[in-house]
């Protein structure tokens, strides 16, 4: 008796399973618990990690901007001004510094930031005088915006 159908039942599985599994697990090596070791848990965790990474590329810019704003607000409150007043008066004096640069100045260059705060304060006072005064006083120095072409 020869068993002929036995050999028909043998399946050749794919040869690459190890490497396909390692491709996923290599992105999960720094995770905590069994999702760094077990494939079925790792697949789900790695997919979520990638989704979070894609979404957070937009979030990062938002978070950095709020961080800069918080720091500028704290620094300007030390000099007796509030953040909206500072930024509005700086733009009115045509100081085109963005929040990142002003935040770096506030951290590493405190005296330059003080001078910016004083400039904004002076412009604010000129604005008040122009609004509340009669128009007979001469306009202030910082309200003269020079248009360079």
């Amino acid at each position: 008796m020869v068993f002929l159908t036995l050999s028909c039942w043998i399946r050749n599985r794919g040869p690459d399973r190890y490497w396909k599994v390692q491709e996923v697990l290599k992105h999960a090596r720094h995770f905590r618990g069994r999702k760094s070791r077990c494939y079925s848990l790792a697949v789900r965790a790695v997919r979520r990690a990638f989704v979070y990474a894609t979404k957070s590329r937009r979030l990062k810019q938002r978070n950095m901007r709020t961080l800069w704003i918080t720091r500028i607000a704290a620094a300007s409150r030390e000099h007796g001004m509030k953040y909206p007043a500072l930024m509005h008066n700086l733009t009115k004096s045509s100081v085109q510094l963005n929040r990142r640069v002003i935040c770096d100045l506030a951290v590493t260059e405190p005296r330059s930031f003080l001078s910016l705060a004083k400039l904004a304060q002076a412009r604010q006072q000129e604005g008040f005088r122009a609004a509340l005064g009669d128009g007979k006083e001469p306009p202030g120095v910082f309200s003269r915006v020079v248009l360079l072409h």
Partner: protein, 151 residues
């Protein structure tokens, strides 16, 4: 592909290379190709015309030309900090290979991974880093030598 899962580094130069003398960071270039295969056609053309000029222009780099029987021609570049970069040049024209070589010559050997910030300073603060006492007036007055009236 997460920022924590993949390696990253800060921007740096190798020992402030351009400040004084510029030292080419490419130590050794080995061109591995085959004498008869179709894929190394561009490499063979480059070796006929361009290699000697390249070697004369870059006296600090050693160029090794090694014909072997291989299926894929490669250029292996070794840098002064020990990093080795292999580039596969199958079916590239001589022009493309010379551009690739100039690119590798201009690179320093630092890893090609995500650079966290596009800038770097040794001295970020000139007026002094902010600390909680920067904008506070001092509580004691200026220190003067003791007057003799107390005695």
């Amino acid at each position: 592909m997460t920022s924590r899962g993949t390696p990253s580094r800060f921007l740096q130069s190798v020992l402030l290379n351009g400040v004084g003398r510029y030292v080419c960071q490419l130590k050794r270039v080995s061109i591995i190709f085959s004498k008869n295969a179709q894929s190394s056609l561009g490499v063979r053309e480059f070796i006929e015309e361009g290699v000697v000029d390249y070697a004369k222009k870059n006296p600090a780099t050693v160029v090794y030309v090694s014909p072997q029987s291989c299926r894929i021609p490669k250029i292996v570049a070794e840098y002064l900090n020990g990093n080795v970069r292999e580039e596969i040049v199958t079916s590239k024209t001589s022009q493309q290979i010379s551009e690739l070589l100039t690119k590798m010559t201009n690179q320093s050997g630092l890893d090609i991974i995500r650079i966290r910030k596009p800038f770097h300073t040794e001295n970020p603060s000139i007026q002094g880093q902010w600390h909680p006492f920067t904008n506070r007036p001092p509580s004691i007055g200026p220190i003067r030598p003791q007057t003799q009236d107390a005695k």
